[in-house]
Amino acid sequence: MRSRLITALTISIGMVILLVALWFAAVQSGLWG
């Protein structure tokens, strides 16, 4: 149960990181904004 929660937390953190990195790259490269 707890290990599944930790996995879910890790995946969520990974998703947030991915979104922030994509946002950064899009803005910095001039693709967006």
Binding site: I6, I13, V20, L22, Q28, S29
Partner: protein, 448 residues
């Protein structure tokens, strides 16, 4: 009770948000003006992943530095489990960082050859960091199949982790793109100081503190089930205050600077003279040597740690302890403490083992039955002739026969400790039986 639990949940969420903020901080700072000119999307994406990966690697040192405040809301095993999983995520991000640069041929693959005179130093640092990180991950995931002894593994783990972060920092300095402003350089200087500070804290400050507060062996006693009880008394200090069920890291035969420590649960109740007892089963190189300790020998104890304790649930109406093998030790610590406090709440202990001879500390448990409102159920794989108790493993059927019918939240607190397959199976059964996961407590040490 609800306040305790809510408080822990808020603390838990707070530390996750702090972690996320520190992980993303380099990208957020990179984004603040003045920014260097923009480049291709794929290159910027790759750089962002690299920076986040590096911040995550540096933060790993904080996760494993044994700060009691960070671990308090979760328990040590949860933090280590998270450390393990998040390491894999960091490794993936760091691995993707160069791959993304090779796909559109921003850099040629030949840059990976650190021996080529054409390879710049910044690339050599990056490749060395990646190699150290790869070694680290392989050794952590497959320590047992690779037959690497635990103490040796710990030393390698520390060295490779330090090398991975240090070389990655040098790589960032060498590339010198997003640290063009003095205050941005300050951020990275801050991360470096934080990282070096953590290394200093774990490798020098803590061992030095331990060296100043040694323990002496009072007694080494053989127990059933190939275990040894090690009784220690503080030497020239008051000793540590622990809650029953917690554990500590022990260093014996070595200086605390040698990083040769092992985690064990206390098996005694907190004592007024500061003495502590650990009951240790002979399982590996270190545990097989416990019997060689003599009265008067110096041992170092770093603790207490862990959230596995009845003291975190003062309002429980009933406690259930489910133990397998040497997993009985924290339970015995909790039972002794309850007896010391003359606590008469209903208690149930389900204790599984191979046979009667392997049930460590059974004599103490039998004696505790006279002082506590305690029912004990032994579950034997190989019962003696004429045995009328439970046999086999601690299955759902066994649990259903003995556990209270009450399933109301926060009423019964259940503690589970033993071999991993047993803990997984018992936790699964308890969930199916309708017990709330927040009321089921366990700690797993067998992570590497």
């Amino acid at each position: 009770m609800i306040n305790h639990r809510l408080n822990r949940i808020f603390q838990g969420i707070f530390w996750v948000l702090v972690y996320l903020f520190l992980t993303l901080l380099p990208v957020l700072v990179m984004f603040l003006p003045p920014r260097p000119p923009g480049r291709e999307f794929i290159r910027e994406f790759s750089v962002a992943l690299g920076f986040v990966g590096l911040a995550m690697m540096a933060l790993q040192f904080a996760l494993t530095a044994r700060f009691k405040t960070i671990k308090a809301p979760y328990g040590a095993d949860v933090v280590y489990h998270f450390h393990r999983q998040i390491s894999i995520l960091a490794f993936v991000l760091i691995l993707v960082h160069p791959i993304l640069l090779f796909i559109p041929q921003i850099h040629p693959v030949s840059i990976l050859n650190i021996f080529s005179p054409d390879t710049p130093w910044r690339a050599r640092f990056a490749v060395t960091s990646l190699l150290a990180l790869s070694g680290l991950i392989v050794m952590a995931l497959w320590r047992k199949p690779l037959k690497i002894e635990y103490t040796r593994w710990r030393i390698w783990h520390g060295m490779l982790a330090t090398a991975a972060v240090a070389f990655a920092m040098l790589h960032v300095l060498g590339v010198n793109w997003y640290i063009n402003e003095p205050w941005k350089r300050l951020l990275w200087a801050g991360y470096s100081i934080f990282f070096v500070g953590l290394l200093f804290y774990t490798r020098f400050w803590k061992p030095w503190q331990l060296l100043r507060t040694p323990y002496r062996v009072r007694e080494v006693k053989a127990e059933r089930g190939g275990s040894w009880s090690l009784v220690l008394e503080p030497d020239g200090h008051a000793g540590l205050q622990f809650h029953p069920g917690q554990f500590a890291w022990i260093t014996a035969f070595n200086s605390p600077f040698k990083d040769a420590e092992h985690p064990f649960s206390f098996s005694s109740a907190p004592a007024s003279d500061g003495s502590v007892r650990f009951t240790i089963k002979e399982l590996g190189d270190f545990t097989q040597r416990i019997k060689e300790l003599k009265p008067g020998d110096k041992v170092y104890v770093d603790g207490p740690y862990g959230a596995f304790s009845i003291d975190r649930h003062p309002d429980a109406k009933e406690f259930v302890f489910i133990a397998g093998g040497v997993g009985i030790t924290p339970m015995v610590s909790m039972l002794h403490t309850l007896a010391q406090r003359n606590d008469q709440r209903p208690l149930l202990l389900i204790y599984g083992g191979r046979d009667l001879e392997s049930l460590t500390l059974i004599e103490e448990i039998e004696e505790l039955k006279n002082r506590l409102n305690l029912r004990v159920v032994y579950v034997l794989e190989n019962p003696p002739p004429g045995w009328e108790g439970e046999t086999g493993y601690i299955t759902r059927k066994v649990l259903e026969r003995w556990l209270p019918l009450e399933r109301r939240k926060d009423r019964i607190e259940i503690f589970v400790c033993g071999p991993l397959p047993m803990m997984n199976s018992v936790e699964g059964s308890l969930a199916k039986m309708g017990f709330f996961s927040g009321d089921v407590h366990s700690e797993r040490f067998d992570l590497v």
